[in-house]
């Protein structure tokens, strides 16, 4: 109990004093995860829409595979990305290992199936409502997907926020491919792991509180930006 209170106190102290190192790693956490999320959405949202409107033979198998990939263990993704980007691996010449780019790649792989799956579920229900209308208007397949993406933006926001939440709190993969280098690839989660290893539970917990606060802030900001969940509207 004492440790928990000390952690809250430490978090407050870090925020009030605008600790420069904290700001740096917080911005890096946010930058890496938002970039990974942008990539995951660019792939996952159209993929989800496509799976909702398109009927093909292996559709059920594709959806089952997608849902299974949600459970990809981050540490395995990290290891595979490491082996690909290692100097002795196939993409080694790019020299991306132990850079934020490698962390973005790992996080994007981890959350794309999650974003695509939730997006698919949201748009599948919407497609049931829009099917006759869009067919009668002779909309092309991509026009149909675009309509679903626009009108289903609340469900898609949920997909994006779920992806954000999984990526920002992820530690196993970014530790392996980023290396937790101070001033280069250290993010909130790897800093928490480091401080826990040093036995400084108060600082670790303080960083954890800030991580949770960050998720909350992003969630509120995106709801506000998309004008969803406003009072008086259903």
């Amino acid at each position: 109990m004492q440790d928990l209170l000390a952690g809250l106190g430490r978090a407050l102290h870090l925020i009030v004093t605008l600790d420069p190192e904290l700001i740096e790693i917080t911005l890096r956490s946010l930058g890496v995860t938002l970039t990974a999320l942008a990539i995951a959405c660019a792939i996952g949202l159209p993929l989800g829409g496509w799976l909702a409107v398109r009927r093909f033979r292996l559709r059920r198998a594709a959806i089952a595979a997608l849902n299974a990939l949600i459970g990809l263990p981050p540490v395995v993704v990290g290891l595979v990305v490491y082996l690909l980007l290692s100097r002795s691996g196939p993409l080694g010449v790019l020299g991306l290992l132990f850079t934020p780019a490698a962390m973005i790649a790992a996080q994007a792989v981890i959350i794309t199936p999650l974003v695509a799956s939730i997006a698919h579920q949201a748009m599948r229900d919407l497609w049931a409502d829009y099917h006759d209308l869009l067919i009668s208007m002779n909309a092309t397949r991509w026009q149909r997907i675009a309509t679903l993406l626009i009108d289903g933006r609340r469900g898609l926001l949920t997909a994006a926020l779920a992806g954000f939440g999984r990526a920002i709190g992820e530690v196993g993969a970014v530790m392996i491919v980023g290396g937790n280098i101070e001033g280069a690839t250290r993010v909130l989660t790897t800093a928490i792991a480091l401080e826990t290893g040093r036995g400084d539970f108060a600082l670790a917990l303080g960083l954890g509180v800030i991580l949770i606060g960050l998720s909350l802030a992003v969630s509120v900001a995106s709801h506000w930006a998309l004008r969803t969940e406003r009072r008086g509207r259903w």
């Binding site: 911005l27 946010l30 930058g31 890496v32 938002l34 290692s86 100097r87 780019a101 040093r198």
Partner: protein, 266 residues
Amino acid sequence: MTRIPLLAAALSILLPIVAAAETMKMAVTTSFQNSGLAEVLVPRIAEETGVDVELIVVGTGQALRLGEAGDVDAVLVHSRAAEEAFVAAGHATHRTPFMYNDFVVLGPVADPADVTGAGTAPEAMTRIAAAEASFVSRGDDSGTHKAELALWEDAGMAPEGTWYRPVGAGMGASLNTAVGMGAYILSDRATWLNFDNKADMAILFEGDPALFNQYAYLPVNPAKGDHLKADAAGSVENWLVSATARDLIDGYRVGGEQVFTFNAEQ
């Protein structure tokens, strides 16, 4: 969209740091980082050699793997047999031993296995095994893990049973586990002195020469690729065996105690 400036600020941090100084990557053991010595040496290296050393903190086993793959420019580890094999395999041109610290046997203050009364380090281990008192092993192929295995071998036994718990984690995480279980554990002195969550654990056995822990610097063989910064690795090596390094290493104190001793051949 008020998030755009924030995003832009975040992205600017993602871009590679354009610094006048040269950067190199060095895989180091958890004990080097957790002891706090890294925070003393790395800034001085940047100041005096112009080389920005980026640390990848892992166990000795993984550090050597990173060197083998050519993903780091140098490794700083503490496991002589593994280092010599690394050099023999051509992954590094040579090894430069430059400092040592020592291992200590930690345990609950109550000391159920009476480790305090042991005469030698292997005897301390034998007593833990005989009492079947819980013992946390790093179990991660690190330098500390290898030193622990060597002690069991000297004691003429292979640790087995439910009392022996390999956790496969870094020094700090393993210490947390040992504290939580009230178990015995082998740790390097520096990490322990720097550790904040000591609870009711204490150093119960120390001082045997068998607990000597030599650190060495190994520049990765530049033949592995043009991306390797052999010049920077060379400057850092020269600095590590210099008088400045000696003064900093010998002068480093944790809780008033000297924890590392410089011993490079000059």
